[in-house]
């Protein structure tokens, strides 16, 4: 054990809200961590495909039902997976002490949040491409609009899932609690998003609630693509709302990261 003659000290770098190099380094680090865990990657990417496959043959007798539900699910799967993965990953960052260490270093909170969003967004792209391709060409999902628009909504949903997971992890003291947040945050949205019955058939109170839940707009957006050949005004509105919600919640998530803690 020796101290070699020292390399010149690294000049202090300024801390800014968002630094591209630090964000990219963080995203690369998160992906590198995942690479050491191939089973998680396989589960994240394959489970949605298996579910779609299953669903197709559950509704073997009525392909019309599969068309209606399949498109919605293409938006919901990435949201749920990314929610789970992000909430656990950031919780681990909080409990392992690495978050405290990073925030004592010149890392901006925005860098960390953006790094996570970037890393999991990349995974979400792979997941969505596979699921969309399987649904459209493998399982014969009948969509009027462009598959690219389906993919766009799926990606925004994944981003929303990442954002919600990051935010919720601040309120979970253990991984056990983090998993329980899934039914608490996701299931109500799932029931009210119009997957099971059109939203205007619900009790007015529930319909009003569903109007403020972001997943409703994710499903509405998917349905627009399902029925129309080109981008409708409703589609643009829906995607903007989902994107806006994702950014808002990402901001809230960043605000839950505190440099000074008790």
């Amino acid at each position: 054990m020796t101290t070699t003659t020292t390399t010149p000290p690294i000049a202090p770098a300024p801390t800014s809200a968002l630094n591209a190099s630090r964000t990219l380094a963080t995203a690369a680090r998160v992906l590198r961590q995942l690479r050491h865990d191939p089973r998680s990657i396989a589960l994240m990417i394959l489970v949605p495909c298996v579910m779609l496959f299953l669903l197709r043959y559950v509704f073997d007798g009525s392909p019309q039902t599969f068309d209606n539900i399949g498109a919605s699910l293409l938006g919901i799967f990435p949201l749920i997976t990314m929610f789970l993965v992000t909430s656990i990953a950031t919780l681990r960052e909080r409990t392992s002490g690495t978050l405290e260490r990073l925030l004592a270093m010149p890392l901006g909170k925005g860098d960390l949040v953006a790094g996570y969003a970037l890393a999991f967004g990349t995974l979400a792209i792979i997941q969505s491409v596979l699921a969309t391709a399987l649904a459209l060409w493998g399982l014969g999902l009948d969509v009027t609009g462009s598959p690219w628009l389906l993919l766009l909504v799926a990606l925004l949903d994944a981003l929303l899932g990442t954002a919600l997971g990051l935010f919720v992890s601040a309120f979970a003291a253990s991984e056990f609690q983090a998993v329980q947040f899934m039914p608490a945050v996701i299931f109500p949205q799932l029931l009210l998003c119009g997957l099971f019955t059109p939203r205007d058939n619900m009790h007015p109170v529930l319909e009003a609630i569903s109007d403020v839940l972001p997943m409703s707009y994710a499903v509405d957006g998917m349905n627009e693509v399902l029925r129309h050949t080109d981008m409708t005004a409703a589609f643009v509105r829906d995607t903007l709302i989902v994107a806006g919600c994702a950014l808002l919640v990402l901001g809230l998530g960043a605000a839950t990261l505190r440099r000074r803690t008790q």
Partner: protein, 263 residues
């Protein structure tokens, strides 16, 4: 950029006046006044639960509800420009278990010195700190597969990145075998002597106190003594620092009782 040369060179590494920290209902640190000189190893000693970790967290700027004066390297603790100048090691190793030793260090180095231009310097920096903590043969092992002592050395290596001016090490030698402990203390002395860095090292093992230049003895959120090991032994007429500490505790307890009875 900040102009660091304008800073007076004789400011102490850490200067505290009336430093108080409240955690929940408890006052963990009670109005501490002390100074940590630059370029030396200061040992922070005391029983577990006496507030050592809270004091260290206050110095690196991660502790909430800190009142009083606390200046670190000439700036208020927690100042953003201090983040590259302080290396901090928490008691529990804080590294990513699912990354290799080198990948861990590569990431933290990229946070300290981001950008493509610094990549060569980062690489040599990472290689150097892995050598410093004697983990070269394990550089490509996953941190999660290492022993407890090895993982805490990875955590220490992260703090050595970028040659910080102040190293705050919370019980860095806990659970290490005697040979490693000796080697690490030699490393600490080298860092202080060759780089002129300041080290603040906490421990509850009193025999490590003999290796420090100065000691801060703590008990129940207060500082019992702030002196060199020699002066402490002479003042209390004790053979070892451990005896000196016990002597001072007895004195403090007796003084406390007296105050109660005279009230």
């Amino acid at each position: 950029m900040m102009n660091y040369s304008s800073e007076p060179p004789d400011t102490p590494a850490v200067h505290a006046e009336g430093l108080t920290v409240v955690r929940g209902p408890r006052t963990v640190l009670r109005g501490l006044d002390f100074t940590v000189p630059r370029g030396q190893i200061t040992g922070l000693l005391g029983p577990s639960g006496c507030g050592k970790s809270t004091l260290m967290r206050s110095i690196v700027g991660t502790q909430a509800k800190v009142t009083g004066t606390l200046d670190v390297l000439g700036r208020p603790a927690g100042h953003p420009t201090l983040r590259t100048r302080i290396g901090y090691v928490t008691q529990a190793p804080s590294v990513y278990d699912d990354l290799t030793v080198r990948q861990n260090l590569d990431y933290f180095a990229a946070i300290l010195a981001p950008g493509h231009a610094a990549s060569e310097r980062r690489h040599s920096d990472v290689t150097r700190v892995i050598e410093d903590v004697d983990l070269t043969s394990h550089a490509d092992s996953l941190a999660g597969n290492l022993s407890g002592g090895q993982r805490s050395r990875v955590s220490l290596a992260v703090a050595l990145l970028g040659t910080p001016e102040l190293l705050v090490l919370d019980e860095p030698t806990v659970g290490l075998d005697p040979v490693l402990r000796r080697d690490l203390w030699n490393l600490f002395h080298d860092i202080a002597a060759q780089r002129g860095a300041t080290l603040l090292i906490s421990s509850h093992v009193m025999d490590e106190a003999e290796r420090c230049h100065r000691l801060l003895l703590m008990r129940e959120g207060e500082i019992l003594a702030d002196d060199t090991p020699d002066a402490l032994r002479t003042r209390t007429g004790s053979e070892t620092v451990e005896d000196a500490f016990l002597h001072l505790v007895d004195e403090a307890v007796a003084a406390g009782r007296k105050k109660e009875t005279t009230r």
